[in-house]
């Protein structure tokens, strides 16, 4: 059974089609990334999958329940870690968690041990009785994550989980997210703007733009779809030209020799590299240096969504929200 399954999922706001006949499925235990420019339809999709918005057309099932007909079942099965910091600064971490536990009907007797379990999992046990005011940005974000876990969700939605965090905190968040998937078998659906985050964290990535999914695959495959890797080999003796010999190898697409430095465009570089080296060594040519460059996900993203800057209409509210968010998370 898929953790998430959508069929022609569509949301229109008046004339604007925010999400346009989107179909995809997320496997159980997968970390699935949703990438796209601002206003591409990421948050709208999350809102529909978490029952905050009703789809205009199409259908979606989360944890096996229909988001429209069985919305209360869906709400029990999913956790949402919103983009905003919603934890209450005036309350302690424990008080925030207790409120969340009540909203998810976790029985009183099991609530406290469960809270401590989740907080220790995220390294917040020691800070449980401190006011959230005193928390760092990373701790707040982790408390937010902890709140999403209180009711043993099957699917966790993470909307920009590391937005505004510094590199150390971001790497730590990734570790926690992986740990949750591995130890708790939770399916993760995350949106992000950070390509390296999607690359290291996600099993599969969907790129969405103008409400449509324009690419969907594992990060590695997406990078390959750009036309392959670049292998560079510098040889010490350039008397013998190897261009034709190398070009005859399977999966090699293009070879250029510039003063003893061969630049080889190749599919699946890491698999082709041993063959290339073998070929060179057969000719008794000494290799000085080898490098393999994969295209980055940034390149993939720009390839699919284009390089033009989006002058999307930014609402005043959105800007205010962002400023407020950044200032809180950086505390």
């Amino acid at each position: 059974m898929s953790a998430i399954q959508t069929q022609d999922l569509t949301k229109k706001f008046g004339k604007l089609v925010a999400v346009d006949h989107v179909s995809f499925s997320v496997k159980e235990g997968e970390i699935f990334g949703f990438l796209g420019p601002n206003g591409a339809g990421k948050t709208t999709t999350i809102n529909m999958l978490t029952t905050l918005l009703k789809p205009t057309e199409g259908s979606a099932a989360v944890a096996g329940f229909d988001v429209e007909k069985e919305d209360s079942e869906v709400r029990k099965a999913v956790g949402l870690v919103p983009q905003d910091l919603t934890v209450d600064e005036d309350l302690t971490g424990m008080e925030n968690m207790l409120l969340q536990a009540t909203l998810y009907h976790v029985p009183k007797s099991t609530a406290k041990p469960r809270i401590m379990e989740v907080l220790s999992l995220l390294g917040l046990a020691d800070a449980a009785n401190r006011k959230v005011e005193t928390y760092s940005g990373g701790m707040r974000k982790r408390l937010e994550l902890a709140e999403g876990l209180i009711h043993y969700p099957k699917v966790l939605f993470l909307d920009e989980p590391t937005l505004g965090l510094d590199v150390q905190t971001r790497v730590m968040m990734w570790d926690y997210i992986r740990k949750l998937r591995d130890e708790q078998k939770i399916t993760m659906f995350l949106t992000t703007h950070y390509m390296e985050e999607a690359d290291t964290l996600c099993d599969r990535i969907a790129i969405i733009d103008f409400g449509k999914i324009i690419a969907l695959d594992a990060p590695h495959e997406l990078k390959q779809s750009l036309g392959g890797d670049i292998v560079e080999i510098a040889v010490e003796n350039n008397n013998l030209d190897m261009t034709d010999a190398l070009a005859s190898l399977p999966s090699v697409k293009e070879v250029r020799n510039r003063n003893g430095v061969y630049r080889i465009k190749v599919e699946r570089g890491e698999e082709a590299l041993p063959n290339i080296i073998e070929k060179v060594l057969q000719k008794k040519i000494k290799i000085g240096r080898v490098s393999l460059t994969e295209p980055t996900l940034d390149q993939v993203y720009l390839e699919y969504t284009g390089r033009t800057l989006r002058e999307t209409e930014g609402s005043r509210e959105e800007t205010m929200r962002m400023r407020r968010y950044i200032s809180r998370v950086r505390q």
Binding site: F13, L52, K54, P82, T86, D90, L91, L103
Partner: protein, 288 residues
Amino acid sequence: MIEEILALATREIKKWVKNPFLLLMMIIQPIIWLGLFGKAFNLTGLVKIDTSKLPPELTQLIGQQIGQLINNTLNSMFGTTDYFTFMSAGMLSVIVLFTAMFSGMSIVWDRRFGFLNKVLVAPIRRASYILAKVFSSVLRALFQSLLIFSIAFAFGLKPGDAFGPLDMLGAFSALFLLSLGLSSLFVALTVRIKSHEAVMAVANLLNLPLMFTSSAIFPIKQMPDWLQAVAHWNPISYSSDAVRKFILHSQAGLDATQLLIDFQFLIAFAAAFTIIGIMLADRGLRKG
């Protein structure tokens, strides 16, 4: 469902109690109100006659007969010869109105900070969230009324000679009904409003008209006919009247007929708006 409401209402109350500035303002505000309206606006003082400045031969006549006449007139207008007492009783309802007005404000903040979304994805009834807002606002309003009552007492409020704990209970049940209805009304108005400026505008548009078209600070009998008609539909008139009757409870007894009318109106008002609030909650809170 009750647990959810309690948990959400506790959150509101905690946020409020943990803010010493809000608590301080809440104590200062009623003092200013009582001082300005009760003492500076002393309507009954205008018609009082200072007997010491009259020629001695007139003192007897003025002091007793005309004085009696004036007092009778005042009694029939205000129910008491002391405007401060009249006004303080009405001010309790006005404070309830002012507290209720901002009950919707926190919904706007919850929406902005994303807390609303978190509540909406939780498997709870949406009405729980609305009721929690309403109840915490009612609690705040009643606490503030109690505060203003104690301060008014210290400033010279003169209750009737038969005033007792039961009258206190009666007065606060009227205030409870008023705050339940008004909080629900303002919460219902703000479920779909997204900016706090708009909430302020709505609150400012409604507060003074609601206050001045009621019998809170001026007796209905002395109003022009058209204003009387409006005042008869204003719930603040009914709660002011009920509270005043209980506070001025004298040996002569309570006017049960009028109190019954007051409570009937207040119960209908509270029930209607609580139901409207809950009904709007489900559709209004959902986005798009």
